[in-house]
């Protein structure tokens, strides 16, 4: 990515990790600072190592957690599904054999891999971070170059701590202005994806910039970078600043003493130079945004909550029209239906997108003193055990259970329904997760992606809603969001 002029943030991080410059035919060889591992995409990689008699080169730069398969109830019992249990047991055996640190189900540090890395302080600015999971883009919120990889690449990183890669293109996402109360990071990223499309970021690293981004907490920044992949991008990044440093400081694996000073000095240089150029730029006016929800079967099919289900007949492009028709048929929605009138039977609050403490706080503020509608079941699944413990220390669990929601253990849960938390055929959810693909949350299930505030309000009214739609008095949740500009530390200690 070397250029004659100034460099972007992504180019700086890339350049600092080139082990061997490519020669045109061969790609660059990039060093990987942190490799996150989970049970689904790693068994075949460890098998490959065994077959070739190769060790894990840097177990000290590798960490594993159990997240995709784990149940969110009865975690003291063996996993009921024997195939899931085998996959989890396989991870445990592999980690023991190859010397990789593992946080298993029930462990105090267990959780979704993208929640665990940051909260341990392992995710730091300027690093390269990979994981066999597309939502690795989450870690870009720290100014790290973080991207998802497949199992062959997992094996490659385990064996060599490097990846052969061609430089990515760069795209600036300039988010100007100030968010209105009740509008969140989730609404920003859904609006970005609706604007550039699910393939718009293909081949790019997105750098989110502008006042609206700088005003966000670390957790909100993670929500935005998390969904970069839904725009097709390899990664999303935000330049580290004082908010970032404050979040990292004092965490278990953060540098300390003289090391901290050296690290901050290095991190402070991780900003796009004023004379650097991006390959593409997109502008978003944050002040014009309102709560955003999806109506279709890909994350780009979204609209402001105040609008109605679109009419495919009015879409000029044939491919887009066909996709909209298929989506509406699958979602069982009629064109012209106001989005606010869409009734759901399930609300899912959790995932690596919105399963952190600030997300739970925002939703709890809406639910405090209110009840989940009779027709709705609401699952609250903390992103990690640590988030769960923090929430309980603040009494959020009581707010959720008194409202009628289920308070669960940590994991990926209904985001992808690999564990028992699934939609039944025909069921419809408002979900704070990241993908509304056909069947994503269970075969035949229908998903509307929403923010935690919209999820909570929807749970109360039973139809897609924002806190502003709630007529009774308890807080509208906006104060929790406005307060979410601090360190956002999730530690209970």
């Amino acid at each position: 990515m070397a250029t004659e002029h100034g460099r972007t943030l992504a180019e700086k991080v890339w350049d600092a990790h080139v082990v061997r410059q490519g020669d045109g035919a061969e790609p660059d060889l990039l060093y990987i600072d942190l490799h996150l591992v989970h049970e689904v995409t790693s068994p075949q990689a460890f098998d490959g190592l065994r077959l070739a008699n190769r060790p894990v080169r840097r177990p000290d730069l590798t960490i594993a957690t159990e997240d995709h398969n784990v149940p969110t109830t009865d975690i003291d019992l063996p996993i009921a599904d024997p195939v899931s249990r085998t996959q989890v047991d396989t991870l445990r055996r592999n980690c023991a054999e190859f010397g990789v640190r593992l946080h298993p189900m029930g462990d105090a540090e267990q959780g979704i891999v993208h929640v665990v890395g940051p909260q341990l302080g392992l995710t730091q600015p300027g690093m390269t971070v990979v994981c066999g999971d597309s939502h690795t883009s989450t870690h870009g919120a720290f100014g790290a170059l973080a991207f998802g990889i497949g199992t062959s690449e997992v094996e490659h990183v385990l064996a060599t701590q490097t990846l052969p890669l061609r430089p990515f293109k760069t795209m600036a996402i300039n988010v100007h202005g100030e968010l209105q109360p009740g509008v969140t990071a989730k609404d920003i990223i859904l609006a970005v994806i609706a604007k550039i499309g699910t393939g718009g970021g293909q081949g790019y690293v997105l750098e989110y910039r502008g006042e609206a981004i700088e005003a966000l907490s670390m957790e909100a920044r993670m929500t935005i970078c998390n969904m970069s992949i839904e725009a097709g991008a390899r990664a999303g990044m935000i330049a580290p600043d004082q908010v970032t440093f404050d979040y990292v400081a004092g965490r278990a694996h953060a540098p300390s003493g003289a090391d901290w000073d050296a690290a901050v000095a290095a991190w402070s240089a991780l900003r796009t130079d004023s004379d650097a150029t991006f390959d593409a730029e997109v502008d978003i006016d944050a002040s014009a945004l309102t709560p955003f929800v999806t109506w279709g079967t890909n994350p780009g099919q979204g609209l402001p909550l105040g609008e109605s289900v679109p009419d495919p007949e009015t879409i000029a492009d044939e491919g887009t029209r066909l996709a909209a028709e298929k989506a509406l048929s699958y979602m069982d929605l009629a064109p012209g239906t106001p989005l606010r009138e869409i009734a759901v039977d399930t609300v899912f609050l959790g995932s690596c997108t919105n399963g952190r403490i600030e997300d739970l706080r925002a939703a709890a503020e809406v639910l405090r003193g209110r009840k989940v509608a009779e027709s709705v079941r609401m699952l609250v699944v903390p992103g990690s055990m640590r988030v769960r413990v923090s929430a309980e220390a603040e009494g959020l669990d009581a707010v959720f259970t008194e409202a009628g929601a289920e308070w669960r253990q940590a994991g990926c849960s209904m985001c992808l329904g690999m564990n028992p938390d699934q939609l039944a055929p025909g069921e419809r959810s408002a979900s704070t997760s990241n993908r509304n693909f056909e069947g994503r949350q269970g075969k035949g299930g229908r998903t509307h992606l929403v923010s935690p505030l919209v999820a909570a309000a929807t749970a109360v009214r039973g139809t897609l809603s924002s806190p502003a739609d709630l007529s009774d008095t308890p807080g509208d949740g906006s104060e929790a969001v406005l307060a979410g500009t601090g360190s956002g530390a999730v530690d209970a200690d």
Binding site: V40, S84, T86, G121, T151, T160, G250, N298, G319
Partner: protein, 200 residues
């Protein structure tokens, strides 16, 4: 990895854009710990519909999938590539692939051939008008042929070379082990390690 030079097989028209990896193989099918046996999960939801293209006779044994734009979006699951290959596919043709899917395909020997969308449209028409038509994909001259139709496709040059030679990516990288050793010495000491005892 088996070298790939040329393949001829029945083309399967999949008239859908944004075929995400949850459609290619739903999460409930990802629990196996091997690289084989994923064919049952391939397009599992769509295959329960008897009208789905892979349930139609001449297409059932297809090996060249011709799909709409943005194929393989979403999850990084390499199981999507394994499911396609376990089923019998050797090539997917689309006008745009998701980055991670394309990378995974290249590692496993599934050719992700990127064509103009107009070429995809033409192939769809040929395959629908004469079901069972064979499509020839030649990696040497990066050309796809079906009946009188012929078009060039794009594929990353390094991936093409590795596929033609059937080379193992890890072995290639380990030729540069000395460079990796040298780089590691230069890494700042304050970079985190996962094994250290928490210091605070």
């Amino acid at each position: 990895m088996e070298p790939f030079t040329q393949h001829t097989g029945v083309g399967v028209p999949l008239r859908r854009s944004n075929v995400d990896t949850d459609q290619i193989i739903p999460a409930v099918y990802l629990k196996r710990v091997s690289r084989t046996g994923f064919e049952d999960g391939l397009f599992a939801a769509w295959r329960s519909d008897e009208q789905f293209v892979l349930n139609q006779e001449p297409f059932r044994n297809g090996s060249v999938l011709v799909a709409g734009q943005d194929f393989g979006t979403g999850s990084s699951r390499e199981h999507a590539v394994w499911a396609l290959m376990n089923y019998g596919f050797r090539v997917v043709i689309s006008s745009r692939f998701a980055d991670i899917f394309r990378g995974n395909a290249g590692k496993q020997g599934l050719v992700a051939a990127q064509c103009e969308h107009s070429d995809v449209e033409q192939l769809w028409k040929i395959l629908e008008n004469d079901p069972g038509t064979e499509v020839e994909v030649d990696l040497r001259d990066m050309t796809v042929r079906a009946k009188d139709f012929q078009a060039r496709f794009e594929i990353d040059e390094y991936t093409r070379w590795r596929l033609l030679e059937g080379l193992d990516d890890i072995a290639l990288t380990l030729r540069h082990a000395n460079d990796i050793d040298t780089f590691e010495v230069s890494r700042p000491a304050w970079k985190p390690v996962t094994t250290a005892q928490p210091s605070h």
